[in-house]
């Protein structure tokens, strides 16, 4: 028993002492959780980003409230002002300086859009009022606002979608002002969603279980073969066998140490998710704990499988690298998987990560299960069984001569 505990402790402490394992098994999952939450957690919230946009109004002023070009200009100018919370404005808006020739400004800013210095340029062209008056009278397709974008730039696409929203609102204001649209009879629009039991989950609640599984997965896939294969190559394992410790007890101790490492990964991620990003998801249910344990065991078994089929540590790392990408990204850890080509769909169906992610998220109530509960347990268990069966037959403890 002392030997088993000693091996477990050694495995855990070695992992914590090694800067490499500390980075990949602990720091990197924390980094990934932070980055993905910082990027995708703020999407759809007010002012997640600030875009550099130029605006030029070439239409001469018209006296009175019917100066609709000024209404359009004002609507965009509103986006260029910081909100009440002092956040950056949605648009960093540039307009011609006093006395500057608008046409020159237009030419210069069009070039700035082309090379990516501006996300977009809005031009209210000359003749805007004339075309608008005709459209209001039912005689014409409407007044155009020209929008210059740069293809291939996401900032341009984002700015364009915002411009579309502003133009939609401006249409309502203008048509209300001329008595053609009654805002009191406006449409009732609602939002609903499928895919989770309790409405829209926070992004962090969806992501956290995925990153926890990724951390377990990396520790199993890289950590286990790393320790066993390098230990074998450097003849470290060989030294164990001259002690009273046998390979069975070594494996038990090693597995306990690995599970302790997974527990540490889980605790660190949970603390960060909860206290830094406000994750509400609770892992306390027996089903969720069961899935976490199953995941840790399955990935540990994968690590043993790689250790048993690789002849060298170098080859083991190469096999882990090749398995890493398809298993991680075709398992729905970071985003749900939809329609895929047949080959990738096949990989997805046999991938234990798919079932573990699905089962864990369903047990946490952050997304509805897409496969039966039994399958989410059976497929990973079958994989664990196969991996352990192969490893028990093929795993060698000493280098071949």
């Amino acid at each position: 028993m002392t030997g088993v505990v000693g091996i477990a402790r050694t495995h855990l402490v070695t992992n914590l002492r090694e800067r490499v394992t500390l980075f990949w098994f602990l720091a990197f999952p924390l980094f990934l959780l932070t980055i993905l939450t910082a990027i995708f957690g703020s999407l759809g919230t007010p002012n997640p980003t600030s875009l550099s946009v130029s605006l030029v109004n070439l239409e001469p002023r018209r006296e009175g409230p019917a100066d609709f070009a000024a209404v359009v200009e004002e609507a965009f100018a509103h986006l260029g002002a910081s909100d009440t919370h002092g956040r950056d404005p949605l648009f960093h808006l540039r307009r011609p300086a006093i006395g500057e020739d608008p046409q020159e400004f237009l030419d210069r800013e069009r070039d700035a859009v082309r090379i990516g210095d501006r996300a977009l340029l809005i031009e209210i062209p000359a003749g805007f009022h004339q075309r608008l008056d005709a459209a209001i009278a039912g005689d014409g397709p409407g007044a155009e606002i020209r929008v210059y974008t740069s293809g291939g730039r996401i900032s341009s696409d984002l700015a364009r979608s915002i411009v579309d929203q502003v133009v939609a609102a401006v249409n309502g204001r203008i048509l209300s002002a001329v008595g053609r649209f009654d805002p009191s009879r406006a449409l009732t629009v609602e939002r609903a969603s499928i895919g989770s039991s309790g409405g829209d989950p926070l992004y962090i609640d969806f992501l956290l279980p995925g990153v926890v599984l990724m951390a377990f997965f990396t520790a199993g896939l890289f950590g286990v073969p790393g320790t066993i294969l390098f230990g074998r190559e450097r003849r470290i394992l060989k030294r164990y066998w001259v002690t009273p410790l046998d390979s069975r007890r070594f494996l038990v101790g090693f597995s306990i140490g690995h599970l302790a490492l997974c527990a540490l990964q889980f605790a660190a991620l949970l603390l960060l998710g909860r206290f830094a990003f406000g994750a509400r998801v609770g892992f306390a249910s027996p089903t969720a704990v069961g899935f976490l344990l199953l995941a840790a065991v399955v990935f540990l078994a994968f690590g043993f499988l790689i250790s048993s089929v690789a002849r060298t540590a170098n080859a083991g790392m190469a096999i882990a690298n090749v398995l890493n990408l398809p298993m991680m990204f075709l398992g729905g850890l970071f985003f749900p998987i939809g329609e895929l080509p047949a080959v990738l769909r096949g990989i997805m169906f046999i991938n234990p990560v798919t079932y573990l992610a699905d089962g864990l998220r369903a047990s946490l109530g952050v997304s509805a299960a897409t496969v039966p509960f039994v399958t989410t347990i059976a497929v990973p268990l079958i994989w664990a069984g196969v991996c352990i069966a192969v490893a028990s037959r093929r795993l060698r403890w000493d280098v071949e001569r």
């Binding site: 910082a38 990516g116 409407g142 364009r160 649209f181 989770s196 790392m317 398809p326 997304s367």
Partner: protein
């Protein structure tokens, strides 16, 4: 010259034997393109796929308006629409019951729903006007003045992956390969022979430049053939940038090798640095959607500029020619200026 040829031959064989380097250089970018391309190849397509449940004349109006902004798919009832949404055959749904317009989303697609909600808002506004018998009187006319007007998200990702391949190959050539030779005491043995250090460096650089050029080319051609992506590659720009980028990354690798005391740690640090850069340089997530702090960090990452330069060289994105040449020149200049440091302080016998 004989030494150079012999070392070149040895370097090439070493590279082919190193399974990790081989998989990182050739397999990693290919796998990423194939997996990401299949998962997200449709992102950036002009049309969202909209499922509609809307009986009666008003329903036809809604279908007509939605068809102007997306590809519509009518369903007889909400159940059918939900099943399609669940199976990702549609991006979101619109249900009109004669009184209320309800938009239905898949809560698991939180990374994309914000974009679908914007499309939905546009449809709701048009439908609102249409129900009161009026049409919009102000509309937008969009003109693309730079790059390709119909670029998909994957078009942007592919040059990003090429840039990442270039960066990691250059980084690991020094902080991985050279430091590995040092750790295994290979350098000790080589340096006591009449071989000039310059010949060793030249052999390492030649093999890496050839390998990076070949690997990026294979990745690019795979993306074009498998996902039918269109690139307007400016081959002179491309062929000059890849070597310049590799040299620049080797310079960065040298800096890491100098800072890190243990030769074995250099590879690990290079691995960590490249991975952090990958997430912060707009390779997989656009820089524009990042919070202000991360955008500022992104601007300090060389990989951001490398990805932009390769997007320019592949015709995906426009930038000023001066900016492209400045990026290329800076990487080349940095790489070349660091070479003497590499020869003197890194390619030397290990301290005893």
């Amino acid at each position: 010259m004989t030494a150079y040829r012999a070392l070149l031959h040895a370097e090439w064989r070493l590279f082919l034997r190193d399974k990790v380097s081989l998989s990182f250089t050739f397999l990693f970018p290919l796998l990423f393109i194939l997996i990401f391309g299949s998962l997200m190849g449709g992102i950036g397509d002009a049309d969202a796929r909209i499922g509609i449940v809307a009986p009666g004349d008003d329903g036809h109006r809604l279908e007509r308006i939605a068809a102007e902004t997306g590809r519509i798919q009518p369903y007889p009832d909400r159940g059918g629409l939900e099943a399609a949404l669940e199976g990702r055959r549609i991006d979101f749904g619109a249900i009109w019951d004669g009184d209320r317009l309800t938009f239905l989303y898949d809560s698991r697609r939180s990374q994309e729903n914000y974009a679908f909600e914007e499309v939905a808002r546009g449809i709701a506004t048009r439908f609102d006007l249409d129900l009161q018998g009026v049409a919009p009187v102000v509309r937008t006319a969009v003109e693309s003045v730079g790059g390709r007007g119909t670029t998909k998200w994957l078009n942007l990702v592919v040059p990003g992956i090429l840039a990442f391949s270039t960066l990691s190959a250059g980084l690991f050539a020094v902080s991985g390969h050279v430091t590995g030779m040092k750790q295994r005491k290979l350098l000790d043995r080589m340096i006591v022979t009449p071989m000039p250090r310059v010949a060793l460096l030249a052999a390492v650089i030649t093999v890496r430049l050839a390998v990076v050029y070949l690997s990026t080319l294979i990745t690019l051609v795979t993306a074009i053939l498998v996902f039918r992506l269109e690139f307007d590659v400016h081959w002179l720009h491309y062929s000059l940038f890849i070597p310049a980028g590799t040299l620049g990354a080797m310079g960065l690798g040298t800096a890491i090798a100098l800072v890190v005391r243990q030769p074995s740690s250099a590879g690990n640090i290079a691995n960590a640095v490249s991975m952090i850069m990958m997430f912060l340089s707009g390779i997989y997530f656009p820089v524009e959607i990042m919070p202000a702090l991360l955008r500022a960090v992104s601007r300090a990452m060389p990989l951001t500029y490398m990805a932009d330069a390769l997007r320019y060289a592949t015709g995906v994105m426009d930038m000023s020619a001066a900016r492209f040449w400045m990026t290329t020149g800076a990487l080349f200049g940095f790489g070349v200026s660091v070479l003497p440091v590499l020869a003197r302080y890194v390619v030397r016998a290990d301290r005893r």
